[in-house]
Assembly symmetry: C2
Homo-oligomer: 252 residues x 2
DNA sequence: CGCGGTATTGAGATTAGTCAAGGATTGTGG
DNA sequence: CCACAATCCTTGACTAATCTCAATACCGCG
């Protein structure tokens, strides 16, 4: 179950066996969360949720009553780690499908960060990646709906491939069109229409909870998708990093 | 000139006199950048730009040729500190007005982070704040244009007040409506129309490069502006922080 | 089989974009 | 200090994108 988590963190840079084991130990005793439920209820700032399986999202409910997702949370994603407390208090974390979640004590995470440079670096990387992705979503919001959806599908494909939840050109996606609408900031009806347009163009299809990209290169080009913002290259060897004990160093 | 910079960083938590002096020393020898010019040209990853005066922005140019801002950079803002290198390579930093900028050697910043816990914490805070703001911009993108602009004006007022560039209800804003359009993801013409609507509603005016909020409470309510996402409360005393030497601790 | 949620489609309303023109403002050089 | 150029602002008319409402079809599940 910890596979996706480790797989993802190792993108930041190599982990030692010891670090891997410590991280793996964090993933014991998961709890189920059923679809459409909030994963964090109340002000549980002392625990950091880690998604082990299922699709979740960070979101906010606007005054008009509509919801806007600011990011998806996929298996292996550590959520609201740095933005609980005074940060991101207004954002909620909800399960889109039924999920398996582990609540990691924040203090335990702190210990690991203080002890293991690799873990410190990895968690730094997670945060910077979030920032990069958030900004890409802002940019994506200025594209027309069709490109916007194309871009999102490419992002999902790429991120799910990383954790072996997608093959070369398709992935299971048991999420409603309404959820995607809230992720894109457009209406559910329009999602449906745009989806048809992509199907008609021979770019992608979505049926039986499975999204299939018929023309991967074509969809990426159309959606102006450049995976650079996903920071899969990790912190990079060219980055100045005076000491792995200093998380900031990793990214600066 | 370092006033805004220090003022801002101290929001994360108190700095010692020594830390303050070190930070102040970073702001020597600024260079001018004229309006409409990129502040960082080429791949100058070894230097971190700090805006001392003027309005700048992080932005990206889309395939269609239009530009989208992902954030403003105001006096005192340290830019692309953590997202240069592999992070945010596709984002550019441009001056909206003529600016005064200092290029801080990245290595020097690293030294300070490793040496001073207060500085380490402050720079961590800067990053998390950026994330929080980016997500708020995503949310704002789903509001209708009028509310979107209202929200932005509230954000600007609040952020500029912090560095004494705004009084109770107005601030100088020598930026074009086109720039605001790119920040909101709407057309310049529509910005103008929406502006008129706000004026007609008696909420705000913009003339002579000065934005005046006629009804601060009204505009905030209309734009659904809640300053929580700006993280002005800093890292908070309630946050677990095992050691100030560990930047991650501050925010987690 | 029937029910509830979801998907799909159409028609009309609304929001926002584009194009175009004229007016205002700013900056510059004589 | 003025004239000019350039940019920016403002507005109107039209177009395009998207939303809302509503009806129907589909699907999984009990």
């Amino acid at each position: 179950m910890a596979y996706a988590f480790l797989r993802k963190l190792e993108r930041a840079g190599p982990l030692t066996d010891e670090e891997r084991i410590e991280l793996q130990n964090l993933t014991l005793n998961p709890r189920p969360v059923s679809a459409r439920q909030d994963i964090v209820t109340g002000d549980a700032v002392d625990r950091v949720p880690l998604i082990l399986s299922g699709f979740a999202c960070r979101y906010k409910v606007l005054q008009a009553g509509n919801r806007r997702l600011v990011s998806f949370a996929l298996p292996g994603d550590l959520c609201s780690m740095h933005d609980a407390g005074t940060f991101g208090r207004d954002l909620r974390l909800g399960a889109l499908t039924s999920c398996s979640v582990v609540d990691i004590p924040r203090s335990r995470l702190m210990e690991l960060i203080s002890t293991y440079p690799g873990i410190s670096r990895a968690l730094w990387w997670v945060t910077l990646r979030e920032l990069s992705r958030a900004r890409e979503w802002i940019v994506n919001d200025t594209r027309p709906a069709e490109k916007r959806l194309a871009h999102l599908l490419c992002e999902l494909l790429t991120c799910l491939q990383l954790i072996d939840l997608a093959n070369e050109n398709s992935f299971k996606f048991p999420v409603s069109q309404s959820d995607v609408a809230d992720a894109l900031g457009i209406s559910p009806v329009h999602v449906n229409r745009v989806l048809r347009a992509l199907r008609t163009s021979g770019l992608a299809t979505w049926s039986n909870q499975r999204i299939t990209i018929l023309d991967v290169q074509g969809l990426k080009a159309f959606g102006e998708f450049d995976p650079g913002y996903l920071c899969f290259e990790g912190c990079g060897a060219d980055m100045p990093m005076p000491s792995t004990q200093r998380p900031l160093a990793c990214a600066s």
